[in-house]
Chain length 117, copies 4
């Protein structure tokens, strides 16, 4: 038996792993960070079971190389995502923790089915 | 409260989402598929909480374009991964189902801590 | 001796190869295609020697899977890029040709240095 | 008119841009670097106009994070590639220069057609 809570956690993990490895390496600078944030949010928002996603990229880390731009690095991400499977909703995040881009579950809660009405 | 089972499911999701979006698009052919399978397995095997991973890429789908190669597509993946967090072990897979590259939990089981001894 | 024309062609190739393999696999749908086009154009525009870039993604190919979205495929790209090295300007494109996402030089021309004034 | 030399330079650029953005972000460690090098070389070797490719990844930069692995970064690449279009052969490389992963043409030479016999 696999619970809705477990499935919601699994789905949240998929989305964080996916967005990280899809977009790491993208040329980026402070002036273009907003467009990349929007594109990532919209891409993730299309995927199944996602009910909310917020992506912020740390502009302070966007120091310029000799040609005036950076590359999107895992350490720049600050992402919060919410997934829902059946009655369970999982909130997870990706953020920098002790210099490691950490993905972790923030909370899982179950909504009594009635409240969906 | 988040259980070890939920964490193990989350970690399995991360790894499947990550490998998919890291490697999709890689130029590939039947003769090179084994090297890509090995590279993916080794990359995933480095990540935290992974205890086993097996990657097979469907060579039948590797039809050649005008230049004699294919690109790794999500539909080619057949992956099974196992993660372990605390006493819980999650097996998940990525495989083609009704023409969609489906990621799903196969099983989560808990090992009594004693059996680790 | 390597000419400015050759360098401009090399730089155009880099950018087309880069954007293709950076963004292929991105979840996409007709409603989000514009945001992805913008993000790609801005990312490419940051890179050295690029003087112009236009990205169009074929919405007709964005047929929906069982979950209502597509993935950005190489076949969807219609890109034109211009690079400039010294006095040489290279225009190149990526577009679908006989079902293959073809990258090719459209034109290289040299501007007499005087005309920059 | 676009020369074979220019086309060979363009093709070399495509391959360097492609491999960089395809593989950056891959989880990697000293023990798995060889498998990734092989996979990249084989992937690039499939692409049109490539006659030789050598990929080395700097193991010295593979310092371990809290979970014991690194991610493939652009700064780790040392790549040499050769492309051939018609009678022209282009050698190009990607390597670290002043802390920037630089792509540049090393040499283009033309082989008299006769020497192909």
């Amino acid at each position: 038996m696999i619970t809705d809570r477990e499935k919601a956690a699994f789905e949240a993990g998929i989305k964080l792993g996916a967005l990280y490895h899809q977009f790491v390496g993208t040329p980026i600078a402070r002036e273009t960070a907003a467009a990349v944030e929007t594109a990532i949010e919209q891409a993730v928002g299309l995927q199944p079971f996602v009910t909310a996603v917020r992506v912020r990229l740390d502009r302070e880390m966007m120091v310029t190389n000799r040609f005036g731009y950076s590359e999107l690095a895992g350490r720049m991400f600050d992402v919060e995502i919410r997934t829902r499977v059946g009655g369970a909703s999982c909130t997870a995040r990706l953020h920098l923790e002790d210099d490691y881009p950490m993905m972790e579950i923030v909370e899982i809660h179950e909504t009594p089915r009635d409240t969906d009405h």
